[in-house]
């Protein structure tokens, strides 16, 4: 599959945006500026971006607790996300969701999700809607190597096959679920095979390589979009940070992190590809880097200056409409 220059530029920009967003978020958490629980995606950028390269706005994705990368790749407003993480009422979710609940329905982002494997069943629903409407849309869910052991994930996979809906299950193996290695938590030796045993094809890729993921995801999404039922993508790539910020990462082997950053960096790998193919010049890539750095810097400046929520906003947005004529559903002193 040859990839247009526009897509290459856009994809590199997305990956770089995720990287800079995350590294900056990491710094701001260390500074005590970002509250709550935040999980960083750094290192896995190619997965999100290569998958989303095959999607348009009305295809949907649903993400995980580690959601920044997926959301940026699908087009979420970066400045709105940064404000959200800072807890501003100008944030994408008005400061009500935070890192684990970034969402933008209009962009087809059905949300990051704080419940491990909360997303796949919902994604099957979006895929079912596409099937009923016969509109050619696909619904992608992202899952980690740990989340695939949750009952809801299995149910969703079987249901997608039964209903023959265009659901794509992207499994990102970053080797760990919190502090536990996949070799322990996934009982069988072959997660790809266990997934395929549910009755759909799974395409494997090296998650450090945008082009490999792009190809695998392309096959899976084409399969689903063509009405052949669900498909899967299985991509291996470690995360660069701890599970959460402050994680001592006792589970890492010696040199593991250095090796990851050195030899498995999707941004470097992408640049190497470009150097070989000549499709994008170093100058073009450098220019993107500079723009992205400026954009992220500005997003932090804006987030720090953004409006803070006021107490009366607490009870807004629970319902679209709830009761009428003095009919309330809440009472407290």
């Amino acid at each position: 599959m040859s990839i247009s220059k526009e897509t290459l530029l856009h994809s590199y920009r997305s990956m770089k945006t995720i990287r800079e967003f995350e590294e900056r978020v990491h710094a701001e958490i260390m500074n005590g500026q970002i509250p709550g629980f935040t999980h960083l995606y750094t290192g896995q950028e190619a997965n999100a971006v290569a998958v989303c390269a095959h999607l348009d706005e009305s295809d949907t994705i649903i993400s995980t607790h580690r959601g920044h990368g997926h959301c940026i790749a699908k087009g979420a407003d970066v400045s709105g996300m940064m404000k959200e993480l800072f807890g501003s009422s100008d944030g994408l979710c008005k400061g009500k969701g935070g890192s684990m609940h970034v969402a933008d329905i209009d962009k087809g982002i059905l949300g990051a999700n704080g419940i491990v494997a909360g997303g796949p069943p919902i994604s099957v629903g979006s895929a079912l809607a596409a099937k009923i409407r016969k509109n050619g849309k696909v619904a992608v869910s992202f899952s980690g190597d740990g989340s695939v052991n949750q009952g809801t994930c299995f149910e969703a996979m079987n249901m997608a096959v039964v209903l023959q809906v265009p659901a794509v299950f992207v499994i990102e193996n970053n080797y760990y679920s919190e502090h536990t290695h996949i070799d322990y938590a996934v009982g069988c030796n072959d997660l790809k095979a266990r997934t395929e045993a549910f009755g759909f094809p799974v395409f494997v890729a090296d998650g450090a390589d945008f082009f490999a993921v792009h190809e695998a995801a392309g096959k899976a999404i084409a399969h689903a979009r063509a009405g052949n039922g669900p498909a899967g993508v299985f991509a291996e790539q470690g995360r660069y940070h701890g599970h959460f910020v402050g994680d001592p990462q006792a589970y890492r082997g010696e040199g593991e992190l250095d090796d990851l950053r050195e030899n498995h960096d999707p941004l470097k790998v992408f640049r190497q590809h470009m150097a070989t193919s000549g499709d994008l010049s170093e100058a073009e890539l450098d220019a993107i880097d500079a723009e992205v750095m400026a954009e992220i810097e500005q997003s932090v400046v804006d987030a720090k200056a953004a409006a803070r929520p006021t107490p009366e906003q607490v009870t807004a947005d629970v319902y679209i409409q709830y009761g009428a004529n003095g009919v309330r559903g809440t009472y407290h002193a």
Partner: protein, 333 residues
């Protein structure tokens, strides 16, 4: 006006909603029936027969599923997020145990967590409550538990007329709605118009009007309370009987105004006592109608035990007209 059973009234509402709006679809276990078998698909219509005939008219919008309640609710939630109006059937309310996350952490919270930028117009229907000798895992009300979760609307019809009107409201509502059908009432009849009509949420029904005591009852307790009250009329005792119809939103004003007039309150529900609706309503009145109260507020409910199997035990377990009568008299003592 034609007499219809509650089952038929609900079925009619589903047919009319499906006819009117092609974004409505039903999903659940055996809602069509016989899929994959030698028999005729669509010949079941749900184990209680509530979805009868839907598959035959709209095969694409009558979706049979495996036994995977989390995936059923998730599929409804996801389809609703992208604009469909699913009506999912969960066979017994007790099975909320296996799909609670999708209800309370996903569909209930999307709108809030996403800063008010999503809508999830899904309806989940359940058969609910005791009276069938179905024992501990097939007899629970569960609506009192769901009422405690902000983001959900909770409906409990007590008769065929309300069931049809409330379900049509539920389907048109843009927020997630849980619809609990007391299963002992499926065969009970009422006058039910053939045409479509809606009953607003948060508007209680005054089933009886009287001066001495306010009785608030839910679901299958409404006819039992009415029987108790009608018998007490002979003794010169007259009661308001309020059926809130929706527990969330709750028509607080109707209850408070009645209590202000009568000074006495009895609350009746079939669920066990702790953190249930009887306490909820009692607590409301003990704050906001306190100065009108002239007697202790009585709660009539099941004891703090699971539902027993044996008919004699279940009869002793569930509130009945005698217990309601005793409670009303206690407030007058």
């Amino acid at each position: 006006m034609p007499e219809k059973t509650m089952r038929d009234a609900i079925n009619e509402a589903l047919h009319q909603a499906m006819e009117q709006d092609e974004s409505v679809f039903v999903i659940g276990e055996d809602v069509a029936g016989c899929n994959g078998s030698a028999g005729d698909v669509g010949s079941v219509g749900g184990v209680f027969g509530v979805t009868t005939g839907i598959y035959n008219r709209w095969p694409d919008r009558c979706v049979d599923t495996p036994i995977s309640e989390s995936a059923i609710v998730g599929a409804a939630a996801g389809a609703a997020l992208v604009g469909m109006r699913p009506v999912a059937e969960i066979m017994f309310a007790d099975f909320i145990g296996v799909c609670m996350d999708q209800i309370v952490n996903q569909m209930a919270k999307f709108r809030y967590m996403f800063g008010g930028k999503s809508r999830c117009p899904a309806v989940i229907r359940f058969s609910a409550g005791g009276g069938f000798s179905a024992a501990g895992q097939h007899s629970q009300a569960m609506y009192q538990v769901m009422t405690s979760f902000p983001g959900l609307k909770v409906v409990v019809p007590s008769n065929a007329y309300d069931a049809k009107g409330l379900l049509l409201t539920a389907i048109q509502d843009d927020d997630p709605v849980l619809f609990f059908e007391p299963k002992v009432l499926y065969q009970e009849t009422a006058e039910v118009p053939d045409e479509m009509y809606t009953i607003p949420f948060g508007q209680a029904n005054f089933v009886r009007e009287g001066d001495d005591v306010t009785v608030v009852a839910f679901g299958q307790m409404v006819p039992k309370a009415a029987a108790a009250i009608d018998a007490l009329a002979a003794e010169g005792i007259s009661c308001d009987l309020i059926d809130p119809r929706t527990t969330s939103p709750l028509d607080e004003n109707a209850i408070l105004e009645s209590v202000q007039a009568t000074g006495r309150l009895v609350v009746v529900d079939e669920a066990p006592p702790r953190c249930g609706l009887t306490a909820d309503i009692a607590g409301l009145a003990a704050d906001r109608a306190f100065s009108s109260l002239t007697a202790p507020i009585k709660q009539v409910c099941a004891p703090h035990s699971p539902t027993p199997f044996s008919p004699e035990l279940e009869a002793a377990y569930l509130p009945d007209a005698d217990k309601i009568t005793a409670a009303i008299k206690a407030t007058l003592a």
